[in-house]
Subunit: 401 residues, 2 copies
């Protein structure tokens, strides 16, 4: 028997560790490998041979790992460049040295490119004793070939809950008020759209739909006219038809080189106040918290992330299983259910799955019933949470031990 | 028998409605009043005779009301001015008209001033058939004469959980990084201090301690030197020795009249980047979410808020009980427990209880063991949460029905 190696890459999520926990648990139940190594800080740490042994993780640690947000093994932004042969050779050498048969890599489309590139390199060099398997994760939900991405649903749940909460808050006074919630999503609007699950979004601005300032202000004015309030949700990646980010601000238009002063929400606030459409505006930028809020996992999400790890482990018993990503396919039928599928990592790498524009109502009015049907089942369920002194328990990151 | 009237004022909290629920439930168990009216939008709506009948609230509604953040009766910023006799006369007339014996007013120190002013007015005019009772609430925890304020603990719990979560997040890369978390607290640093419950705050900046830019940068540099990271928490009200807010930015110093560009965290970020002490900085301004995040109540907090309402109701059976606020006193002993006390509302009105400077470690290094001992028990416990489709259930605000 040989070893497998798990590592994490890209931005953290609330459930990314559950995939690791799933791989570890699967190997305890069905020991395909004699050792499960964790690679610290993704490819960056693997190239430095920074490993921890996860093989005999206790059930308690496994459970707490599942509820620990952010990459417990550490992450990296290091991208294996296809022309950097030295890195490839070094990695294969390290895998040989430690007898690592399979590398499981969790991440977004950059990471899937890494998986594709490594398996391609191995194939081209007739290296048959190493396998490379991708496990998707991204709060952005923008990976192709999978119904959705582990990590998205928990962020969506946090966003929807925060939207309900802040909507309840901004309504309490009789005065005129606009609230602007900014979510992550530089290229895809999935997270911003999920705020609609609150049922209270008046104006929704996604990157997928060119931003039209006049139409936006008209819609805010309409809402103010109807109820003296307007709840706006904007994706950080909202942009004009010519590609300029709304977040870059008006200043950029006039060529004066003014500094970029904030996010998309602040830019919208400025438009609203300057135009006089409303006199009060509050901004909430969810920033980092939305992708890692410990007490707001979706049970569906964390379970799927865990099971995806188990599925990846099982598939990897097949010596020809390489260059693949394990994805999720939604089953037909009334009741929400998924099956785990395998897809070629190169079909995922470097693509972006946008929020479908046909799921958008016209004039920034939100999302269609089809979009609700897609989103709603994902955020369901609250996993039991181990709490210590009022704060969710978490494992000490492995890179700190 | 006569009626009582409950109303809410000032900024919302996560548990403010539990006090209303406690008053309603207490009157169901021990009907001192034949009717419990809810006044919409505080004094503002009461003067417009905008009432709802809460007397026969179902147990289910009562339970969901307890977990509904923000003022379900609506709020106001309207302050009864002591020289505005017309308002006082009108209010007494309305109370006479509806046979309202007791007004329960939940709020911060402005609201306690309203309670004090009304009872004073009544005493001066020999009005003996109306009583005015204050129930404290404020996330800022800055009211005198009470160990702490309902609402604070849930906000503190959200802040501590977010601090743990974002700390786990910002650590994942090997690169240098500063994270700055900004909390509410214009005059008092209780909320910012509560982030220390995460165990991960390197630099803590409160309004109670004059801000010294050089010392701040020195402390950040020290942390960067030690571990390449620095986790900063700052209160929105952080200020220089001369009283200027840090949030007002450096620009204000030079008299050029530059616009205020953001909060305290953004100002600190600018200082760090400009000084070159660190090259990367992330900011998370918790903004509105910290005072209303539905899924993050502290069980201690919501229970105390509910019981405080019951206690206020019970005390109000005494015809001479007026101009009082019901507060919390922490019992001596190892195990955390409180009793409900009554204090004169005018001893609370218009004062601010600061975070004790003797509970601060020198050089922005955080808080003392005594401070931890004070804070820790408050955030304990997670109340059972009724969730619908993945989002915490809430009552429809009464002012929207």
């Amino acid at each position: 028997m040989s070893k497998c190696l798990v590592a994490q890459s890209g931005g953290p999520t609330s459930v990314i560790n559950a995939t690791i926990a799933g791989i570890v648990k699967a190997n305890q139940l069905n020991p395909i490998y004699d050792t499960v190594l964790g690679g610290l800080h993704g490819i960056e740490g693997i190239l430095d041979e920074r490993f921890v042994d996860l093989t005999n993780m206790s059930d308690e640690e496994n459970q707490i790992l599942c509820q620990t947000p952010s990459s417990a093994l550490g992450s990296c932004r290091y991208k294996l460049k296809r022309d950097n042969v030295a890195d490839f050779e070094k990695l294969i050498k390290i895998m040989d040295k430690y007898d690592i048969e399979t590398l499981f890599y969790t991440g977004g489309n950059d990471s899937m490119d890494t998986v594709a590139a490594l398996s391609e390199y191995a194939r081209e060099h007739n290296i048959t004793n190493h396998r490379f398997v991708g496990c998707p994760k991204t709060v952005d939900n923008d990976l192709m070939e999978t119904d959705h991405c582990p990590g998205f649903a928990s962020a969506a749940k946090f966003i929807a809950t925060t939207a309900v909460s802040t909507w309840l808050d901004y309504n309490v006074y009789t005065r005129q008020e606009v609230f602007i919630l900014e979510t992550m999503g530089r290229d895809a609007g999935w997270l911003a759209a999920s705020a609609c699950l609150s049922g209270h979004v008046d104006v929704l601005i996604l990157p997928e739909e060119p931003f039209d300032k006049d139409l936006f202000l008209k819609q805010v004015a309409q809402s103010i006219k109807e109820k003296n309030k307007c709840y706006v949700v904007v994706s950080e990646g909202a942009r004009y038809a010519d590609g300029r980010y709304v977040a870059a601000g008006e200043a950029k238009n006039d060529g004066f080189g003014h500094a970029v002063l904030g996010g998309a929400a602040r830019a919208l606030e400025e438009m609203i106040l300057e135009s006089g459409v409303a006199s009060r505006c509050k901004v909430q930028d969810l920033s980092t918290a939305q992708r890692c809020h410990a007490s707001e996992q979706s049970a569906v999400d964390v379970t799927e992330s865990f099971r995806l790890g188990m599925s990846a482990h099982m598939h990897s018993a097949n010596p020809s299983f390489t260059g693949k990503m394990v994805g999720l396919k939604r089953r037909e039928g009334e009741k929400y259910d998924v099956e785990f599928i395998t897809v070629d990592a190169d079909k995922v790498a470097n693509f972006v799955k946008n929020f479908p524009t046909e799921w958008l109502l016209p004039d920034y009015k939100g999302i269609t019933d089809e979009a609700y049907a897609y989103l709603r089942p994902l955020i369901v369920g609250e996993p039991p949470l181990i709490v210590k002194d009022g704060i969710p328990a978490h494992v000490i990151p492995y890179y700190m031990r």
